[in-house]
Symmetry: C2
């Protein structure tokens, strides 16, 4: 008993705990980012629990995590809602994204392996194919994978998870904007420029490319707010 509570040399297990709350979290997050659950929509824990065949506990746990992530808003004793888009917060998320990814690129360029570059260029090739065939969902997956590669290539434990988390607001917006046809082409061009800059070991150019891209996104966002104000806060 004392041996257990002391737990000095606890065996570390690398197992990915596949608990119910994790599953619920993944399902809900996916639904929110893909706008299957629309911004502002109410989430009834009881209903979700019934639909997924679990009790309210794992649903509450998952929703708490989503609240920390800024994807839902919980009003105590009142209700839980999918977070509306909030321009100021999206701006902050963009700032964080640029800061992290440009710093990651800076680090990556110092220790870039040919294999990593090869992977990125393969991903780009697939993006071109997806864009040419207007496969939005597939393009989006490749997009996400590329960003993960950039985070991973810096060689820092856990950086991908942090970057991914802070990107979630943006991911939701990106996914909405991707359906503007021109957007996918623009995104592809930007990605190509970034990878080219990495290949040239030119982090400054990559950073600049990313920043200009962001201002583009800002304009599209204002356009979206005019067309669908119900998705936005205040």
């Amino acid at each position: 008993m004392q041996i257990r509570s002391a737990s000095r040399d606890f065996k570390q297990q690398k197992v990915v705990a596949v608990t119910r709350k994790d599953q619920v979290y993944t399902i809900l997050r996916q639904a929110i980012i893909s706008s299957q659950l629309a911004p502002g929509e109410a989430i009834r824990k009881e209903v979700v629990a019934a639909q997924l065949g679990v009790s309210r506990t794992p649903v509450s746990d998952a929703i708490n995590r989503l609240a920390d992530e800024g994807l839902v808003e919980i009003y105590p004793q009142t209700g839980t809602f999918v977070a509306r888009l909030w321009l100021e917060k999206i701006e902050t998320a963009q700032f964080v994204r640029v800061a992290l990814e440009t710093a990651a690129i800076r680090r990556t360029t110092e220790q870039l392996t040919p294999e990593t570059l090869e992977w990125m260029q393969q991903n780009l090739e697939q993006q071109r194919h997806a864009a040419a065939h207007r496969e939005f969902e597939h393009f989006y997956e490749l997009d996400e994978a590329l960003h993960d590669m950039i985070s991973d290539a810096a060689g820092l434990v856990g950086l991908r998870e942090i970057a991914s988390r802070e990107r979630s607001q943006i991911d939701r917006v990106r996914r909405l904007l991707l359906h503007y046809e021109a957007r996918m082409a623009e995104t592809l061009v930007e990605h190509e420029a970034i990878i080219a800059a990495i290949a040239d070991r030119d982090a400054d150019r990559a950073a600049k490319t990313m920043e200009t891209h962001i201002s583009q996104m800002g304009r599209m966002l204002l356009h979206l707010r005019d067309k669908r104000p119900e998705l936005f806060k205040s």
Copy 2:
């Protein structure tokens, strides 16, 4: 509802949160960062719940949040433990901190108000005083406040919360290292250099200062690992 004052194991503090789980979270987080709860130590939910006079539910909620933050590790059906220090993760946290704060400084220098600068310099003056009198706890609070100012000065909604969250690993280490007497003086010098750079609108210099400081911290960490290996993972 009262988080019982009978909880002598935890330092009493101002609790601004409204719900019980927020209060428990704040108390536990404070206890972990201040090393009142040591790395590797087991956390018994039931015991914590009893000590704070609440049920297991808000304790579990708080611990889940701390797990997301990387301050505790939950092993399902086995136990919950205060996370040990892990050099690789600390390195990642340092990377994130530098990336965010230098980017924030870059932004701040473009829109710095005399009031903000005045606040920072006042804070510095208090730090000098605290350092001169070896007031570790007070110095630490001022340190944290200065970082918050830097985040806030960028004028981005929610940035402070993100930066604070990603800094929590580092804060724990800083607090341990602060008790090396020389450390406080070094930290003060670094802060002075950063503020001076901001005042000069020289973000590059601030960034460089920060990075050199980090390598210093890395050395002290290795030293700490030799002296107290039980605090570290692997």
